[in-house]
């Protein structure tokens, strides 16, 4: 019987990909290998962010337009902690994630009982307010002057300087996030989320407390965004309010939508496909019009919604494969029951 890709036990698949990723920096690609590595690092960072966003619209079916707010909060938390208190990177990431989660809870608790459209608008307003605060509260964030000179992270006392070191770091972060997200997804909590996405009223009548689960999802999503922001701050070593505009939220949303709302693998593939595209555009477009690259994302969104609203790895297909794998687990002798 022919074995399909979706039938391979997840463990081996992920291990294989991990080994591939670890070998990547050492492939002989000539002089531009560092540049490519940096693109891959960016792509992996966006994978982390997209996985975080995926929890809210993908698992819960709520549109979050303000994700960049948490990304920014995480980045500024990391930047300020490093600059003022010289906190170690390994403490900063959980702190940034925690800060993100706190703001996620604060924002989510009153707003998650709203209907989809209104919730989207409120999240959007929130992220705009965050950027406004970052830009204007100079005493806290130095506003438009940005935060330069953020120290790099250190592993056992050795500060990271090489591109491959940062790549390994982001891969590590991705693994942690994947660990959390996959464990949550295939559990009672994950099922409760899916039920909210499919039919809120039926979910309620089956005993799922909507607010509790929505806020939890939102907080975890915000925490992941915060962690991603922390990495960004310590990698790029300079942050500025213009890096956290609304378009970033849309970009990340685009990745999730393209990959398939709710599909973990699809989201990662989406990031891998679309982020290098941005780089291509950077080469093609003249300098002052670089922000027009978001045009592509607008087009992608519209086209996807028109012709493949389920993304490249549709949610339905994903559930089918999951069920088939579960069936095989229960009846390995192939009795067909």
């Amino acid at each position: 019987m022919k074995t399909r890709m979706s039938d391979i036990p997840r463990k081996w698949l992920y291990l294989g990909i991990l080994i591939l990723a670890l070998l990547l920096p050492w492939l002989p690609l000539g002089g531009s290998s560092n540049y490519l590595l940096r693109i891959l690092t960016t792509a992996t960072l966006y994978m982390v962010l997209a996985l975080g966003l995926n929890i809210v619209p993908g698992f819960n079916g709520l549109l979050d337009l303000g994700y960049v707010g948490f990304y920014g909060i995480g980045a500024y938390t990391a930047g300020l902690l490093t600059l003022h208190y010289n906190v170690s990177f390994w403490l900063i990431v959980p702190l940034a994630a925690l800060n993100g989660a706190i703001w996620g809870i604060l924002l989510g608790a009153p707003t998650l009982r709203l209907t989809g459209d209104y919730f989207a608008i409120v999240t959007f307003g929130f992220s705009e307010l965050v950027v406004l605060v970052i830009r204007n509260e100079l005493w806290l964030t130095r506003g438009p002057m940005g935060l330069p000179g953020i120290a790099p992270p250190s592993v056992f006392g050795h500060p990271l300087t090489q591109d491959w070191e940062y790549f390994y770091l982001i891969v590590f972060l991705l693994l942690v996030v994947l660990f959390v997200v996959t464990r949550l997804e295939d559990s009672r909590i994950g099922r409760a989320w899916y039920s909210i996405r499919e039919d809120e009223i039926a979910a309620q009548c089956s005993g799922v407390n909507l607010i509790q689960y929505k806020v939890t999802a939102f907080a975890i999503s915000a925490a992941i965004g915060g962690a991603g922001g922390a990495f960004y701050a310590n990698w790029f070593k300079f942050i500025h309010p213009d890096m956290f505009k609304f378009w970033e939220s849309i970009l990340i949303l685009c990745l999730v939508v393209f990959g398939g709302l709710g599909s973990i693998v699809g989201t990662m593939l989406g990031a891998l496909a679309l982020i290098p595209l941005t780089e291509l555009l950077r080469i093609v477009l003249p300098q002052n019009l670089f922000s027009a690259r978001y045009l592509i994302y607008g087009v992608v969104l519209v086209l996807m919604m028109r012709w493949r609203p389920d993304g490249i790895l549709p949610f339905v297909r994903y559930q089918e494969n999951k069920a088939r794998r579960a069936q095989k687990r229960l009846a390995p002798a192939g009795s067909g029951e």
Partner: protein, 304 residues
């Protein structure tokens, strides 16, 4: 005593400015609210039509040399057609799709149009050269103490009132308007009653876009600054105004626009001016949290 007079004239001047701004917001907000009323979709790209109106009028007047008062109706007609086109291409195919898909499409269109404008017209801010505009605009119509009101402001207020009046007539006195109101209450039954739903929706887009374009022209004049991202800013504020008044309700949008314009001018004047834009966001969030049906709107029940 003089101090009091000074304060009150500042107050009144702010009021005048606020009403002017409010009128513009109301024009844009009405477009949002009408479209939401008939297809329950927040047309994010509406702000881009407003921006397009500003750019088109500017281009016509400066590059093609068309006289200002002729450029206005031309721009409005082009933008109305553009609104119909937008519906036809982006929203009509998704009439039966889930809300999330339509919302994402709207956002996508908005981003696409903004950046398209950026590519076409470039990023620098355009202004009308003084020569092409009627001189009267910049002269003061009347001066009461310290309060001044230019002809331009009167023009804006007058246009706003006239357009609102025409809109009111259309909605309440014509067949199309009645059809619009019917569809916003029950789309399926309206179709069964013989209303051509798609045509009426196109018409709604046309009217909303026309009003948005007019607002764009007016703002381009008033602030004398036209740039591709202006739709983004004004769009959000107008949406906040629509939500404030009660989304789906046209008088609500008018009221909301007025209130928001005044709130913004006063807030910027008396509180912090950097947070000027933040006022609309804050108002929007507060309204959605505490009274989602807005000042005039009615809450909707879901049938189980």
């Amino acid at each position: 005593m003089e101090d009091l007079l000074g304060m009150s004239s500042l107050f009144l001047q702010q009021l005048v400015n606020g009403l002017t701004l409010g009128g513009v917001y109301a024009l844009i907000a009405v477009g949002y609210t009408m479209v939401y009323g008939v297809i329950e979709l927040i047309n994010f790209a509406h702000g881009e039509i407003y921006m397009l109106g500003a750019f088109l009028a500017y281009t016509m007047v400066t590059i093609f040399g068309i006289p200002f008062f002729a450029a206005i109706p031309l721009t409005i007609m082009i933008c109305a057609c553009f609104g119909i086109l937008l519906d036809f291409i982006a929203y009509r195919p998704l009439r039966r799709a889930p809300r999330l898909a339509a919302l994402i499409t709207a956002i996508g269109m908005s981003i696409f149009l903004q950046n398209l404008a950026l590519l076409i017209w470039g990023g620098q801010i355009r202004s009308y050269p003084r020569a092409v505009l009627p001189k009267a605009f910049f002269q003061n119509a009347f001066v009461v103490g310290d309060i001044t009101m230019t002809w331009l402001q009167i023009f804006i207020l007058a246009v706003t009132v006239v357009f609102m009046f025409i809109l009111h007539l259309i909605i309440h006195r014509t067949q199309v308007g009645t059809a619009m109101r019917a569809i916003s209450q029950d789309k399926v039954t309206s179709a069964l009653m013989g209303i051509s739903v798609n045509r009426v929706i196109s018409f709604t887009f046309a009217i909303g876009s026309a009003m948005g374009a007019m607002a764009g022209i007016l703002v381009g004049l008033y602030y004398n600054a036209i740039f591709p991202y202006m739709g983004y800013n004004a769009g959000i504020k107008a949406f906040a105004a629509a939500v404030l008044g009660g989304i789906g309700s046209v008088p609500g949008a008018m009221l909301g626009g007025g209130v928001l314009g005044i709130a913004e001018v006063f807030g910027a004047g008396y509180l912090a001016s950097e947070y000027r834009d933040g006022i609309s966001y804050a108002v929007m969030i507060l309204v959605i949290l505490f009274k989602p049906s807005g000042l005039i709107g009615k809450p909707i029940l879901e049938k189980v």
